[in-house]
Amino acid sequence: MNGFAKSHLGWLLLAAALLAVPVFVKSGRWIEFIELTLFVAVLGQGWNILGGYGGQYSFGHALFFGTGAYIQALLQFKYGVSPWIAMWFAVSGGVLVGLFVGYLSFRYGLRGSYFALITLAFAEAFHVVARSFISITEGGRGVQLALNRDPDQAIALFQFTFADPFLKSYGYYYVILALLMIAYGATWWMERSRFGAQLVALRENEDAAEALGINTFRTKMAAICMSAAITSSSGIYYVQKFLFVDPAIAYGPTKSVEALFAPIIGGLGTVLGPLVGSVFIHGLSEVTREAIDAVWGARPGVDLILFGIILVLVLGFAPKGLVGLAEAAWRRVARGGKAQR
């Protein structure tokens, strides 16, 4: 088998394994855990498109998550729009915000930390707006969607809490898995396209990219749109699952930070990086929480202390993240094997 077919086989196996998770995992708690891991993996892939591939580090990706979540929630809450229709508006709204922020930032040539700061400022501005315009957004108390108790309406209302046993247990899992597959498929395609090559080129050296015929402004705009679309799609899952969103959840710093943790720790600018990073941080957080609970009793903060330390260590000593470390180790093993033969 040649290397090309091998790599495709790997992707197919991964997809099959994810689709078959409900066959092996029966515990509701574990499904919940896996769902949350995949949710952050989607959120992080959005960040990874712009930050990992494009080198534009956003500190305000909550902008897109929050806009997606708010549109998804408000269209149902205020206008009774079907969630299946609302979701298209949610993604479009996220993309529009991306176009707006991207146009201003990139037109005025903000790079590096300045881009990070302006995305943070925009997220904060949206936070204030969501809190203040009560007549539109319900303000600080947030939007609470009605819980559907009619099993026949489960699919129509995109709510699986009172659905048939399978949907009830695994419905949301397949929702986030579908979003994940779309996001990762799109990233996989991008990596092999001209757009991807040009995006990476401008990350590596913007002047050289421009000199070689790349419209760097347009490429960055395309990247922020794709990034916003993926990140805002995670807001759809969030709202349908928790039926609630408020300004702090939507636009607060937590989601922005979550969005960048996974890809940086997993491996910037790699398709699987955000998933690997998300699995790692959620796994680690689960283990430490158990340990801490046993020693000190339940106390918040420990997992984030660890993530912060790991973030700094990865930035300092493993700039290609866990995927990079794994590749290096694999190469060493492969070379060792050859040497013995």
């Binding site: 590096g112 700061l117 203040s132 918040p300 202390i305 330390i309 973030l311 930035l315």
Partner: protein, 299 residues
Amino acid sequence: MDILGLQIPLYSWETVLGSAISGVFLGSIYALVALGLTLIYGVLHIINFAHGALLMLAMYAVFFVWHFWGIDPYAAMLIVVPGAFAFGYALQRYVIGKTSHGRDEIILLVTLGIAIVIENAALFFFSADERSVQVPYDLDGIDLGVTFAVYPELFALGGSLAVTLGLWLFMTRTDTGRAIRGVAKERQGARLVGINVDHVFAITFGLGTALVAVAASLLAPTYTVHPQTGYLFVLIAFTVVVLGGMGSFVGALAGGFIIGITEQLGRLYLGESLGLITISAIFIMILLFRPTGLFGHKT
């Protein structure tokens, strides 16, 4: 007045002036916090995202020094400021300097990581409770006619002016200050003539952190502290620094006053919640249209 469904009230000039004056006091706090940030930026070109977290940590230090030993927050400076210097020195020398590879977006992420560690360590050890220092004089003050200024506010205003002046004197009149400025201008050249650049960087970061501790002492009587306090200040401090021009002390002072006054007037006219949008709006405008700030010069 009614704009976009928002009721914009009309106030008497006394109310507006009173609000502006309280904006000056608020601005002096912002300036104090921003001075350390702009010092670190001016020399190290580090956009220190952990600045707010360091402020929060220093405020906890002031609180505990007062809580356990009953030391007045202003006197606590004598203990907290040297401690902050040492902490900042070590942070730059052994963490930021070793992991950031000199790339500014990596530095920003590293300092974000540090901020997250500090904030959650505070949450873990000190819990989410709000703590505040009680001083006997926190309600006494001077009647200014249109508004009333308490002594801690007056001290903060005086402190911000004194610190700006002191910092300027230090940077222009002392050997250390001159070395710092030399490194700021010519990193490679400084290395060539034998200046230990890593040491100077760490000293600068330590000084910036020490300034944060001064700010913490001055605002302890009027502010409560909890693990999220730093985040509330971080965006404001960046706005002040960018507005005043990265690396400019006078700019930080002026920027602090402008932001303080704008915020208070914003709250007065737009309400407690929406009023805060003035800060993000100023920040975005400055980044887009005048990234060198009011007093900064082109790099």
